[in-house]
């Protein structure tokens, strides 16, 4: 890359990194490396954001994310998390319908009773 291209990419950098070629070249290389890595990270971050939003939306209806997804998988509803998060934000009634569908399919584990410990309960 010649200098002109480097300075073009170094717009908005801090201090000497936008003006002096030696420093700018280092910083631009680093910036390009970060952008390569983050193009892959962005997909992960977005998915986790969708999952957080779906979680919040379902908990408003009393169901948590895990049980909700399990119910959807059992019913073979193949909506992806992106669409589900959009529904939970902008289409609350449709989302409630989905939550009901999932809840009917998988109501979640009943309250698990811990196993009684035999020996000590005799003393009590």
């Amino acid at each position: 890359m010649n200098k002109k291209e480097v300075f073009k990419l170094a717009k908005g950098f801090r201090g000497r990194a936008k003006n002096c070629i030696r420093i700018a070249r280092e910083r631009v290389e680093k910036a390009l490396q970060y952008s390569y890595r983050d193009r892959r990270n962005k997909k992960r971050d977005m998915r986790s954001l969708w999952i957080e939003r779906i979680n919040a939306g379902t908990r408003l209806h009393g169901v948590n994310y895990g049980n909700f997804m399990h119910g959807l998988m059992t019913e073979n509803i193949q909506l992806n998390r992106k669409v589900l998060s959009e529904l939970s934000m902008h289409e609350p009634y449709s989302f409630k319908a989905l939550v009901d569908v999932s809840h009917n399919a998988f109501p979640g584990n009943k309250k698990v009773v811990p196993p009684k410990k035999e020996g000590l309960s005799i003393l009590v």
């Binding site: 779906i54 934000m89 811990p114 410990k117 009590v124």
Partner: protein, 291 residues
Amino acid sequence: MAAAAQSFNGNVKAKLLLLYFRIPVAIQLILYFDSMQKALAGLRRINLEGLRWRVFDAKGQVLGRLASQISTVVQGKDKPTYAPNRDDGDMCIVLNAKDLCVTGRKLTDKFYRWHTGQKQYNLIIIKRDFIHWRIKLASSSKGKTAILKSGIAGSKALEQEILILLPEKSLARVGLYLFCRYVGNLKERSLKDQMAKDPTEVIRKAVLRMLPRNKLRDDRDRKLRIFAGSEHPFHDRPIEPYVMPPRQVREMRPRARRAMIRAQKKAEQQEQGTTHARRGKKREEGDLEAN
């Protein structure tokens, strides 16, 4: 003052008694008033459009579990429109902070610790048996080192101290020395003392330490209003009480259960009037049990 008088019964005797007790009540009201005024501060900084005001009642709640719920609400993570880059959490009001419970031995064994005192370094150049130059360096806690120069007329006490510490012979003293002035200290305060001093700090620290450490943390802290009692000055706002999600309480450990049964039996016996001169184990009811 008038409010306090009205809140009591319309009994004449009660009103007369109130006159005698007015002064301590006044002080109490003033103390509550102080925290009320503090609670109203900083509201202008928050953009209150569309945010709800949720009220948490901390009476009988376990400290950490309550703080976890508060932190999710304050971050706005219970809304499907959550975005990590903007702060959309609801305003949280916590009441009855002094009635908080903790399990186990945390009342006596949980400590809040902090470090005080910062080391101050003195760089000293000694020439011919007296202090020629003294350069004061502060510890780089804030990222900058402040360098002050003081000539021979520095503080006499410090000079004397330093000259005593140096080796005796005059030729050996010449040179550059670095002296450290203060010793940093570790201070600690137990949960019991902190509750006596300021119960709101307990919840505030707990919630603050559960929030993510980013630039939104201070704004989220501003959304938290905690009160030791059950009075709060936000009655004119649209308030919603927060219902804690259902929780599975662990069954009591066998030893604790046996102790509780013994205490119950003793209480029953005392009620029935059988007086035994024995002293049983002391138990504080609300504070140490997991229920």
